[in-house]
Symmetry: C3
Subunit: 156 residues, 3 copies
């Protein structure tokens, strides 16, 4: 069993309380050896740090800012998973990351944005954090969030 909770401390990461869903659902579900998280927005203390579409133009969310928000989505997803697991030490591996980036139609750098999620999972879980991933650019996300990330985790 990996000591993921200690690892969070070493990295100076403090998970938020599990986010309140934006609708009639729950933050995460355990089923058999898996946890599915809801799609997570980059809430910090209940607020989105920015809203809008991601792209290179001056009135859009900069890709680097969106990348940081993808990492925040992961922290919220892990908080959601912990809320059903008790401890993240029960995570065997990260299976799948699906990331949606609210994108200006000219913006094609979704993989770079999602690296903010993937690299944080690598720092926290090491080899067990390696995952399959899909990244897509969508027209708009709930509450005009620039990024939304969901996880599938294998658990003990």
């Amino acid at each position: 069993m990996a000591d993921i909770e200690s690892r969070l401390g070493e990295l100076g990461l403090i998970l938020p309380t599990a986010p309140t869903p934006a609708g009639s659902y729950v933050p995460a579900i355990r089923t058999g050896s898996y946890v599915y998280t809801a799609g997570q927005l980059p809430f910090v203390d209940g607020q989105l740090p920015a809203t809008g579409k991601v792209g290179e133009h001056h009135d859009l969310i900069e890709p680097a800012a969106a990348q940081a928000m993808a990492a925040t989505c992961v922290l919220n997803a892990l908080a959601a998973a912990r809320s059903v697991l008790g401890s993240l030490d029960d995570v065997v591996r990260v299976v799948k990351v699906t990331g949606f980036v609210a994108s200006h139609p000219d913006f094609t750098g979704q993989p770079g944005v999602l690296n903010g999620a993937s690299e944080l999972l690598g720092e926290i879980f090491g080899e067990a954090g390696r995952h399959a991933r899909s990244a897509v650019g969508v027209a708009v996300l709930p509450l005009d969030s620039p990024v939304e990330v969901e996880l599938v985790l294998e658990v003990a």
Copy 2:
């Protein structure tokens, strides 16, 4: 085993026959303890009740109408699941709802639209209907449908 088939009757809900896929695939697949449904459109008697993008402007699909269509997608998804299960009494829990809303780029109320799906699952399955959910706003959906919903179910 929950008596879901009776519950449908109490709620006055009649599932349609399993929808005909819009392409070379099947309405639902059972694998191990899970059923994955195909993405469901809000067909009623083989017709979409409306087409277009969802939003607040006068030429768009109203969010309340889209919310009702999300519930119709759930009925179609349950019909698809029943077609491989025989009876919905075999459903142990709803695991995941993924909802796509064809959205005007200004429309950020996807969670409200998807509540039409989530709340109906709650009415039908009670506690076992609580699920993780992702809602995203996409550019366009097959046949210009305003909404598409897919389910993952845990089954006995």
Copy 3:
């Protein structure tokens, strides 16, 4: 156990080497009896055959071309699966296909595009290739790819 590797030969299909991910993730993950592939772009020898949005207008990617690219995505997804399985003979069934089509907002033929993926899976796997599927039209995809496809496979 199906003899899928021989079947590929009969069809004259040669899988590429597993595609290099566009970010900090892996092409596929095995977990229990399942393989999840990453979202696959239609790379051929490391290049996208075309970029842009799919639609009927003259400056867009033609639906027939996008349909062929969806088949290429499947070949890349199967190469990714083989990289973690060793042999595709271990595939018990295709469970789920999720397909994203970078779409002009007027283009509603995503099911036809994804039939390029579904029909190839049928040719390769026969009955075991029948799958649930979701097809959506998104604003833009990584590297301006017209199509992205991911698979969930049940494996022995």
